[in-house]
């Protein structure tokens, strides 16, 4: 029989047990709070610290005058919602408010309502709110009786392209500029090429956050100091750019072309005054276009190659005259066609007809394929001729990027005769610009060398970065001044000696010259030449003072549909040289565009 006394002892035992447990708890507490304190505190700090970036303001882009704003960044709000802790009533009210303020209808309104009532902790409702919309959201979310709950406005940068282009529905110099995606990355063109310069550097800040991820005030320290992006001034003249874009649109419509492009460049320092293609686009709508027509982003001037055709006869002229085997006055027979490779192949002129005996200069002017072939064959054996011609191309910058400060430039394709020896037909084709692929900017660069006295100058589109002017980049002398002068004279002869060209090219009061090109287009789909579709090119110059070119203008009409007058004689409403004339005239009459005196030595006269 147990008595109360025993029970008392047992109560004491229980108490002892309790004291033991309390002691254990105390020891355990000391273990966490004293022994492992530093470790836990360090882990807590590590877990509760966060780094975030403060976006740097992206630089703006101006034209060469520094007054026309082509691209700039504005701050717009992103609207998101945290509907996790909202009551159904609050969700409904918020959804109605959002739909009203954003003016949503139909599916968009339904989607927004769905997101607000989803109960998700974060859902983006809209980007790029107008300032009025942001204010309305703020007003609805605050006050004594808010109608919106859980809405989050966070600023993001929106790139705006402010100048309308020369064609409807486009922004100015869209393909040259490119655009900036949501992540702040420049895409295509100058925006991509100068991404790091324009974007600047984000400021990285470390701060403490609590368990819910909210930043703790006053704990932030700057880890990496950022800086804003720099502004760019392009070499582009906005008014000329507009005019060129208008001319291109007109030609595109008239010629039913697939694409038209033009570059206006200073041959001496490589500054590009105008740089345009059509079809172009509205860079502010890039996101929609990315889904419907992303091909329009590709810049035809640096990113697409084509067989240049007869404009390459000037390279042949450079090679043969430079080698001393032909002079402009050297006489050639032109029977209209030429049998090569011991009868295996042949070439013929565009009209397949013979012409009377003529000088080399006349042959180039009349764009005689047979004359170009015969001239090239005078360079020696086929292998020797191929080597000389190929080296001439390399010297003039073909087969490699020009280095223009625009993204996604391609190098083009040349066939190296030391890899695959050329046959006679290859040499012949090469002499009149078939069998290689080049970009319009490469043609402009090579012609500029012939026109500026023989120096290869890198084309460039940015005149100054921040307040720092960029400098011309010379790639060195590629021909003697005499040869350059000779080639320029040949270009002049093209537009003066052929009446057909003269009527479409000459501009009273100015000296012009250049070379046409009409290239067949190989259709890889059908493995045949495209029928009645040609790539038309004209690269030429315009000079206010005779013998001193002011501008080089490269024009390309891609897959124009000409009317055939007779074989070899094709007529289009706006021929390439006609388009050249319009653009050259626009450019030469643009006020203050071209410096009054070009600081170049007068080219020496050579005997004809």
């Amino acid at each position: 029989m147990l008595g109360r006394t025993d029970s008392r002892v047992r109560a004491l035992l229980i108490l002892l047990a309790f004291i033991l447990v309390a002691g254990t708890l105390g020891v355990r507490l000391a273990y966490w709070q004293v022994t492992r304190r530093d470790e836990l505190a360090a882990m807590a700090v590590r877990e509760s610290s966060t780094t975030y970036s403060i976006a740097a303001q992206r630089g703006s882009i101006y034209d060469r005058t520094g007054t026309v704003l082509l691209a700039t960044s504005v701050s717009r709000d992103l609207l998101a919602v945290d509907s996790k802790d909202l009551t159904p009533g609050q969700q409904a009210s918020t959804a109605a408010t959002v739909v009203r303020i954003l003016g949503l209808t139909g599916d968009a309104a339904q989607l927004a309502t769905q997101l607000v009532t989803s109960g998700r902790p974060y859902a983006v409702l809209a980007h790029d709110l107008t300032p009025d919309q942001s204010d309305a959201i703020r007003a609805a979310s605050s006050g004594s009786s808010p109608t919106a709950f859980g809405l989050i406005l966070s600023p993001e940068e929106l790139r705006q392209y402010t100048q309308p282009g020369g064609a409807p529905g486009t922004t100015l110099a869209a393909q040259l500029l490119g655009f900036v995606n949501r992540a702040g990355q420049g895409q295509y063109g100058v925006e991509e090429y100068y991404q790091s310069v324009l974007a600047g550097k984000d400021t990285v800040v470390a701060a403490q956050q609590d368990g819910a991820g909210n930043l703790v005030p006053d704990t932030s320290t700057v880890l990496e100091q950022g800086y804003p992006g720099k502004d760019l001034e392009l070499t582009i003249d906005a008014s000329l750019q507009v005019a060129v874009e208008q001319e291109l649109l007109a030609a595109w419509i008239a010629d039913r072309a697939k694409r038209v492009s033009a570059v206006v460049m200073d041959p001496y320092d490589g500054e590009v005054y105008a740089y345009a293609s059509y079809p172009s686009y509205n860079a502010n709508d890039y996101m929609q276009l990315a889904n419907t027509n992303p091909g329009v982003f590709v810049d035809p001037i640096v990113s697409t190659v084509y067989e240049p055709g007869s404009v390459f006869k000037m390279m042949t002229a450079d090679a043969v005259i430079g080698a001393g085997v032909v002079k402009p006055t050297t006489m050639f027979n032109d029977p209209g066609h030429l049998v090569l490779d011991n009868g295996a192949t042949h070439v013929h002129d565009a009209n397949k007809q013979s012409m009377p005996r003529m000088t080399f200069a006349k042959g180039v002017a009349w764009s005689r394929n047979v004359v170009a072939t015969e001239a090239a064959m005078r360079l020696g054996t086929t292998a020797q001729a191929a080597r000389i011609l190929y080296n001439t191309w390399l010297t003039l910058g073909y087969g490699q990027k020009t280095g223009i400060d625009v993204a996604n430039e391609v190098a083009g394709i040349l066939h190296d005769p030391s890899v695959t020896p050329w046959r006679q037909i290859d040499l012949a084709n090469a002499s009149f610009g078939q069998g290689m692929a080049v970009t319009p900017i490469q043609l402009a660069q090579a012609y500029a060398a012939m026109l500026n006295g023989g120096t290869l100058v890198q084309p460039r589109v940015v005149k100054s970065i921040g307040n720092q002017d960029t400098a011309a980049v010379s790639k060195g002398r590629v021909m003697t001044p005499q040869l350059a002068q000779t080639l320029m004279q040949m270009m002049k002869e093209v537009v003066t000696s052929v009446p057909y060209y003269a009527s479409g090219t000459l501009i009273p009061g100015y000296e012009v010259g250049g070379k046409t090109g009409t290239a067949q287009i190989w259709d890889t789909a059908t493995n045949a030449w495209k029928v009645n579709l040609f790539n038309y090119s004209f690269i030429g110059y315009i000079a206010r003072k005779p013998g001193h070119p002011d501008l080089v203008v490269a024009v390309r009409i891609e897959e124009g549909r000409p009317t055939v007058i007779r074989q070899g004689e094709l007529e289009m409403p706006v021929m390439s040289f006609e388009l050249f004339r319009r653009i050259a005239h626009d450019a030469i009459t643009t006020p203050y565009l071209i410096p009054d005196t070009q600081q170049v030595p007068p080219p020496p006269q050579v005997a004809p």
Binding site: A11, L15, G26, E39, D210, G211, A212
Partner: protein
């Protein structure tokens, strides 16, 4: 003298009301009030300083006003009012319990006032109450209940005579919760009646103690005697063990079905402790613990949520942002607190109005207190619980009969064991179980149930209370002895 022992109980009137000073209680209550005022002032100053830091404004003068001076004042006045009532009633009840409980309740109140008030809100008509205000209301109600029980309960007949009725009521309560209750965090613990919702398992623990005390005291001699052997185990006669084990099994079963592991652990621990106090049989305790471990293993194998709890206990850092998030954040809080704590109001829980430990007001008040008061503060709090247990056991030792002894021991144990279970869970000593920290955690039912337990304890401590009815089994023997005398 002998008339009392007659079959008729004493007439239900309150004899000899004479005010009696309670100097110890008053002195301790004044210490408690001073501590709470200092705590409130420290809290208010810290909060203002942090706010100024956040907004960047300069601090011209330090203000020491507590965040809710009226609330704190009302609570201290409430404590003093209870004291005054005790004085006026003149009962010779324990003088230590009220200050100890008052201190714990005050710490809880300060904690609830400094946590984000939107954590819990409740509207009564146009009146909207936040966390601190609700806690204050419940504290005042609990103080009133405690005082009423301590003042009015003079006879325990209504407890001991109807033990099976109480047991039935408790089971019914749980069953109702299971059928009509609402789910919170996957456990069906809450029963809502109108605007008020409560956790019946809190009340059930008091009922369980009453039943166990009554049953064990009545059948103690039989349970203590060995009459059956099962291998090395010595068991009491089955018929006497059965009702008790059944009661325990049903309660435990329902609790397990409801997934309230903390309550299950608490019930079982109190059951074993009372069994030990009543019978002195270590073998029961050992056997019970073996049973418990076996049961736990089965639960771990069967229930996914038990596995989650245990895995979190073993290695909370394996998934520190998911399952282990709360445990890890609580450990961080303990670590930040260190020896002396960062000071009331300076812990992370208030910053930016978000909580690293979401259940800080119910399951993890110790984490917040450990951060702000440090090891020293928590040891003091453990000390307060020890004081309560010690007082309860002292009351048990002084009790006039077995039932009162077991009841007093059980009531104090239920408070102490619950506090230590949740503390051990917070400290990653055992897997975390979702029960409240008595008198500190937020929650009306928890405060009320513990107040009932404390009120009964106080009533039992009255040396001048109505003497217990004579034990039925030995009534004749005592009477004959009295007659002989």
């Amino acid at each position: 003298m002998s008339a009392i022992a007659r079959v008729r109980p004493a007439p239900r009137r309150i004899p000899n009301i004479r005010p009696r000073m309670r100097r110890v209680e008053l002195g301790l209550l004044l210490v408690v009030a001073a501590a709470l005022v200092v705590g409130g002032a420290s809290l208010g100053a810290t909060e203002r300083w942090l706010r100024a830091q956040a907004t960047g404004e300069a601090i011209t003068a330090f203000g020491f006003a507590p965040p809710d001076p009226r609330g704190l004042g009302a609570y201290i006045l409430g404590l003093l009012a209870v004291h005054a009532a005790f004085v006026l009633a003149g009962r010779r009840t324990d003088q230590i319990l009220l200050p100890a409980i008052g201190m714990l309740g005050g710490i809880g109140l300060l904690l609830m006032q400094r946590l984000p008030q939107s954590l819990v809100t409740q509207s009564f008509g146009t009146l909207e109450l936040g966390l601190g205000e609700l806690q204050l209301v419940w504290l005042l109600i609990s103080l009133a209940v405690l005082a009423l029980l301590a003042l009015l309960v003079r006879s325990d007949r209504w407890l001991r005579a109807y033990k099976y009725t109480w047991a039935a009521a408790g089971i019914l309560l749980l069953a109702m919760t299971f059928v009509f209750g609402t789910d919170v965090n996957g456990a069906r613990l809450t029963l809502s009646i109108g605007p008020i919702s409560g956790q019946p398992s809190e009340l059930l623990k008091v009922i369980l103690v009453v039943f166990l005390a009554a049953y064990l005291s009545e059948n103690r001699p039989l349970l203590a005697e060995e009459s059956m052997r099962l291998g090395p185990l010595r068991l009491p006669p089955i018929p006497y063990l059965a009702p008790m084990v059944a009661m325990w099994a049903i309660a435990l079963g329902v609790v397990v079905v409801q997934r309230d592991l903390g309550a299950a652990l608490l019930f079982f621990a109190v059951f074993l402790a009372l069994l030990f106090v009543a019978t002195g049989r270590v073998s029961y305790v050992v056997g019970g613990m073996v049973l418990f471990l076996a049961g736990s293993w089965v639960l771990y194998q069967v229930f996914a949520h038990v596995q989650v709890r245990v895995d979190n206990w073993l290695d909370p850092f394996r998934d520190p942002l998911g399952q282990g998030f709360q445990t890890v954040q609580a450990l961080y809080a303990f670590g930040r607190g260190g020896l002396l704590g960062v000071g009331l109001g300076a812990g992370l829980p208030t910053i930016a109005g978000h909580l690293p430990v979401p259940a800080v007001h119910t399951d993890y008040p110790l984490a917040a207190l450990g951060e702000e008061l440090g090891l020293t503060g928590l040891l003091a709090i453990f000390g307060l619980y020890l004081v309560i247990v010690e007082r309860g056991l002292r009351i048990a030792a002084a009790a006039q009969d077995e039932f009162r002894a077991l009841l007093a021991a059980g009531l104090s144990l239920v408070i102490g064991v619950q506090a230590f279970i949740i503390a051990a869970g917070n400290l990653k000593l055992i897997p975390l179980t979702g029960i409240t920290l008595p008198f500190i955690s937020y929650g009306g039912s928890s405060l009320l149930a513990n107040a009932i337990a404390a009120g009964l304890l106080l009533a039992l401590s009255d040396a001048g209370a109505v003497p217990p009815p004579p034990p039925r089994a030995r009534r004749w023997r005592r009477r004959s002895r009295e007659e002989r005398a």
